[in-house]
Assembly symmetry: C2
Homo-oligomer: 186 residues x 2
């Protein structure tokens, strides 16, 4: 039961964005740039970083929503997304992405937890300044999204079969703020 | 020493925003709406919430920058801003603001830390849905800003005398993204 009076037909962050469209606009613009930019990190990498941080924050709505988007990009490989959630060090992903997930996991705790050795490790595996910047900002952005969604107790659908359709819409149309106010499933 | 190659003449988040102008735009638009909206919470209340969360996150640059902006709005009352930082429960502020700072302190830890009793307490002291929404989102936004600033080890000027001038500029001109790339002091 949400703490404020939002549209009961909208789940998670979408109900909050419909409640306050003025802040929905920059939030969705930020998601669009950070998660769908094709320079450097792939869209899959970006969604996996967001999923991992949301999983660490135990944000059910966010880690299932973004996990499903990653599943879409990975042509249905849900096992890989689960492997990243549970133990990315053993997941079948590149060493570069592992090094960036290490940084993202530090950011989830605190900005100050990121050490020079984490950065050096990422550079040794081919990460550029832009990759490191985007990783830190994606992890910081999910530190916002997760707190926003759970801090207002927005509704997270418990039926996991509702997430894939919504994910497909995001993959196709992006994070434009118009998306968040439409009464679509999930 | 920042972890990525940013303009050494720019401090804190301003150096990061100049590095990646595409993300600077929605971030500064978010700050502009959340911290300078005059509906419900005052600009002073909004800056005090941001300062408090930044102080809890030990983000030197953010809690001094936003603390000084609050000092400006309070006509120089730095003692009040310090009282909010250190023990808001005993600070000479309204019970309503205290109840919202209680929520913000929970959000700093985790969205899930906010309980129905925190919301009930805020409502008993006159907080509206909009006040509660904005408090949670301000606290969540500073969870992003603080991690962004410290996760990339951006430079925080240690000379506190440099912060008031910058604060005055923000009070006068706002958080427009053009502000962040100008080589001004602080």
């Amino acid at each position: 039961m949400p703490y404020i009076n939002v549209d009961k037909n909208l789940p998670g962050i979408r109900s909050l964005m419909a409640f306050r469209p003025e802040t929905a606009e920059p939030l969705s613009a930020l998601a669009e740039i950070l998660l769908r930019d094709d320079t450097g990190l792939s869209r899959t990498d970006r969604e996996l970083i967001g999923t991992y941080v949301s999983y660490l924050n135990d944000c059910f709505y966010c880690h299932h929503s973004h996990g499903e988007i990653a599943v879409c990009y990975l042509n249905g490989d849900r096992d890989l997304v689960n492997a990243v959630r549970q133990n990315y060090k053993e997941a079948p992903i590149s060493d570069k992405l592992k090094s960036l997930l290490q940084i993202a996991g530090k950011v989830q705790k605190s900005g100050k937890a990121v050490l020079q050795e984490d950065i050096d490790n990422a550079r040794e595996h081919g990460a550029t300044d832009r990759d490191i910047h985007d990783t830190v900002l994606i992890a910081a952005a999910f530190s916002l999204f997760n707190r926003y969604v759970d801090g207002l107790a927005s509704v997270a659908p418990q039926d996991l079969s509702t997430y894939p359709l919504r994910a497909k819409q995001i993959v196709e149309y992006g994070y434009g703020s118009h998306i968040f106010s439409q009464p679509q499933p999930v």
